[in-house]
């Protein structure tokens, strides 16, 4: 494969993962594009930083009482996972089924929900919705613990239809009520005690007690219901079976996947891809893996105009930079700050602003967030003590026998940051910067010396480019 193919694989990995190192790209180049897609879609033997090492070092990530620890624990997983699409899907579903720490005060339950997204995030959509409806964090987040046979609470039923499946305009207020009736009795174990603890943020006497699902038959309304034109003694499973066969659901799911993985905006060409995805959705019995396969293998997705058509979300940006820099590959003091750093950029994992999740695309960027984004990634990528950056320096040294022209320095660093393509104006500016100090001599370079620092400075400059902010 040539450089063009590396660019395509890099594009795929930016979207279906968190980017890739130069070594990873070269390894993947021995596969066909379609083979790489299939491997991403089948994360069967994912490896990540071992849980025991994390828990031994970080007591806060063993107990998982606090959200910064839980968020950092997930970031560790995203940084070190060998199956990036599995994590990317968890991030996608977390944004769509946004459940937050505020109100729950139960970080472990949120991570259990993320685990559920790993298990079911590429599988059938009906299974995923069923698991979501049994998820204790979701149940408390949207008050289904207060949805009783004798007094329904519509909150979960409403959001299931509006935010999680079909979207507004495809159901009536009566459908919401019937949906809520069907989910009466779906609650969490010890719901009353846990609700009191959650409302008071009580950790006493011995820390958090985690949650799991409980179905209370005696509190379930088994009466006849009419939902989306169908009637019966529906329970929650029946409602989900009706939801997933709606065309509105197919469109909703396909559009959201398209916008997360392909482009922030759906143009006419994109609409054709969405329709193909909808067709796959039905043909595959609602399988998300199949829908994504249709997207990733589409000519639209692979085309040049599709590249750099999305603004990286803060978590994508942060994780991608850490994977390249090689920092935090083992338990590290201060890792909980990573979650806060991501929060300052506008997206704290496990703390979405509302049940609607985050506003994405260009809304990720404002002047404050942009400064946070650039400062963080520039600091990480210019840290020449980090193992990933040291690998980059060694690669440049070996490839050019220790002596690089300014252009080789620029092009080498762009390549090392994931086969990054920049426009002519940006390239010229980088070249001006590199040329100021002339030729770079890396022969006999020593850790931290001026030659290495020049590489770090170039990486820092590239981190500040428009293209690096895009996926």
């Amino acid at each position: 494969m040539g450089q063009t193919d590396l660019s395509l694989v890099a594009h795929l990995l930016r979207r279906a993962g968190f980017g890739a190192t130069r070594d990873e790209l070269e390894t993947y180049a021995s596969q066909s594009y379609e083979e790489r897609v299939e491997e991403l879609l089948h994360p069967d033997h994912a490896q990540a930083m071992p849980d025991d090492l994390i828990r031994r070092y970080h007591v806060d990530m063993s107990e998982l009482r606090q959200v910064d620890a839980a968020g950092a624990y997930w970031i560790y997983r995203m940084i070190t996972s060998s199956a990036p699409l599995e994590e990317k899907m968890a991030l996608f579903w977390h944004g769509l089924f946004a459940t937050g720490y505020t109100k729950l005060n139960q970080a472990r339950a949120l991570l259990n929900q993320i685990d559920m997204f790993r298990r079911h995030g590429l599988g059938r959509f009906d299974t995923l919705l069923l698991e979501l409806s049994k998820d204790p964090a979701m149940l408390l987040w949207l008050d289904n613990n207060d949805n009783h046979k004798t007094a329904i609470n519509e909150n979960y039923g409403r959001e299931l239809l509006e935010l999680f499946s079909m979207g507004i305009g495809h159901y009536t207020e009566q459908d919401i009520k019937e949906c809520a009736r069907a989910f009466t009795g779906w609650t969490l174990k010890n719901a009353e005690y846990m609700a009191v603890r959650a409302s008071k943020d009580s950790i006493w006497p011995y820390g958090r007690i985690n949650w799991h699902f409980e179905y209370r038959d005696w509190d379930h309304d088994d009466g006849e219901k009419t939902f989306l034109g169908e009637s019966g003694h529906f329970n929650g499973e029946d409602i989900i079976a009706i939801i997933v066969k709606q065309e509105a659901t197919a469109r909703f799911v396909s559009q959201r996947l398209f916008q997360f993985f392909a482009a922030d905006e759906i143009d006419a060409a994109g609409e054709a891809v969405v329709e193909s995805m909808m067709q796959t959705y039905f043909e595959s019995d609602y399988e998300i893996r199949a829908v994504l396969r249709t997207l990733f293998n589409s000519d639209y997705f692979k085309s040049e105009p599709s590249r750099y058509a999305r603004v990286k979300g803060p978590i994508e940006l942060l994780v991608g930079a850490l994977r390249l820099a090689g920092s935090y590959r083992k338990p590290t003091l201060g890792a909980n700050q990573l979650m806060l750093q991501s929060f300052f950029m506008g997206q704290g994992p496990l703390v979405p602003p509302t049940v609607e999740g985050w506003h994405e695309g260009m809304e990720w960027i404002d002047s404050g967030a942009l400064v946070e984004r650039i400062n963080f990634i520039a600091k990480e990528l210019s840290d020449i003590s980090q193992p990933g950056v040291r690998d980059m320096i060694a690669w440049l040294d070996a490839k050019h026998n220790g002596v690089l022209t300014p252009e080789q320095l620029v092009n080498g660093c762009l390549s090392l940051l994931g086969a990054l393509d920049v426009d002519d104006e940006t390239h010229a500016a980088l070249l001006d910067f590199a040329s100021a100090d002339g030729e770079l001599n890396l022969q006999n370079h020593q850790p931290g010396d001026a030659a290495e620092q020049r590489v770090g400075n170039m990486l820092r400059m590239i981190a500040a480019t428009r293209e690096y902010q895009l996926a």
């Binding site: 031994r56 107990e63 009191v196 006497p205 011995y206 799991h212």
Partner: protein, 341 residues
């Protein structure tokens, strides 16, 4: 309830502790080890999470659940300060030794909490550490320190003079994989919790390999990441089987005797909390605190996360002169006390 086989009986006595969400006072913050002074006071090492790191400290109480005092010199690298403390042990003069895996040293305090001295720096040479973990002191005041990332045990005089070392990374006899806890029996034998090899190794006082007990697994006599080890006056071996969220007791020959899963009750401090918070108490009375869990949560860790009486993060075991067993639980901010008879 007690768990019993043959002649060995280990009975539950009580639970001491409550989570401390603040920066001082009664309660514990991620306890990592206990040590018993000669007068029977119980010293609890609070590892503390990042939110409470500035108040990193040792809390002292007694078996009657009186919170006596606490001491610490703050979070950091200065004299007597701590960052990630792991373990404690008293010498015969009641001086308390505390290891710190981030500061790579051993610090010594008086029983009243005054900082006395410290030694160690990051490295792999003699007198250096890379993540010191367990510490034990024998009857002659020799100090054994488990050097986690160097996969070895170092032996020192009470004042930090290097004496000898043994171990290397590996799975063979006398080799280690990220070892953690250590103890010394009445005959001077040294036992090491060989954490990532899922076994306990027994050595002479000069580091000669004697035996290894256990293998990976969750069956009787098997371990998953054992973190702590203690030996009582008759040679019974208590193992904090951390990854299995339990304690196992082995005979002097390493044979399986019994296992404990934990049976915590409300401490005196917990009782007082509920007396002041009747709304929580009322709903708690209706709750099932030992529930059946769905299959995807059927692991010791997840079970312990929502079964309050069980051990959760049983990181260390300590046995006192009266053969009382103290099990510190990192994630439940308490320790459970058992009595061997």
């Amino acid at each position: 309830m007690s768990m019993q086989t043959t002649a060995l009986n280990v009975s539950y006595v009580k639970t001491i502790g409550i989570v401390n969400n603040g920066y001082n006072g009664r309660g514990f913050a991620n306890p990592y080890d206990t040590a018993i002074s000669q007068d029977g006071r119980i010293y609890v090492l609070n590892r503390c999470d990042p939110a409470r790191a500035s108040a990193i400290r040792v809390g002292v109480c007694n078996l009657d659940e009186d919170y006596l005092f606490e001491f610490g010199n703050g979070y950091g690298e200065g004299d007597g300060q701590l960052r990630l403390p792991v373990a404690m042990a008293f010498d015969r003069q009641d001086r308390l030794y505390i290891t710190d895996e981030e500061n790579h040293r051993v610090a010594i305090y008086s029983a009243e909490g005054a900082y006395l001295s410290q030694w160690g720096a990051r490295g792999s040479g003699e007198g250096e550490f890379n993540g010191p973990a367990g510490v034990a002191i024998d009857a002659e005041d020799h100090v054994y320190v488990v050097d986690q990332h160097n996969h070895r045990v170092q032996k020192y005089s009470r004042d930090g003079q290097f004496l000898l070392q043994w171990g290397d990374e590996g799975r063979g006899p006398g080799e280690f994989n990220l070892p953690w806890g250590v103890c010394v029996d009445a005959d001077g034998h040294v036992y090491v919790a060989d954490w990532r090899n899922d076994r306990i190794q027994k050595f002479s006082a000069t580091g000669d390999f004697i035996a290894a007990f256990g293998e990976s697994g969750d069956g009787d006599g098997q371990f998953r990441r054992p973190s702590g080890v203690a030996v009582d006056s008759e040679g019974f071996i208590y193992v904090a089987d951390w990854g299995n969220e339990r304690v196992q007791v082995l005979g002097p020959d390493g044979s399986f005797q019994l296992k404990l899963r934990g049976q915590a009750t409300l401490s005196k401090w917990a009782d007082e909390f509920f007396a002041a918070n009747p709304d929580e108490w009322e709903t708690r009375l209706q709750a099932d605190l030992t529930p059946e869990l769905p299959a995807h949560l059927d692991t010791p860790y997840h079970i312990s996360a929502q079964t309050e009486p069980y051990f959760w993060g049983p990181v260390s075991v300590t046995v006192d002169r009266d053969n009382r067993l103290y099990v510190a639980e990192t994630n439940r901010h308490r320790f459970q006390v058992y009595q061997r008879s």
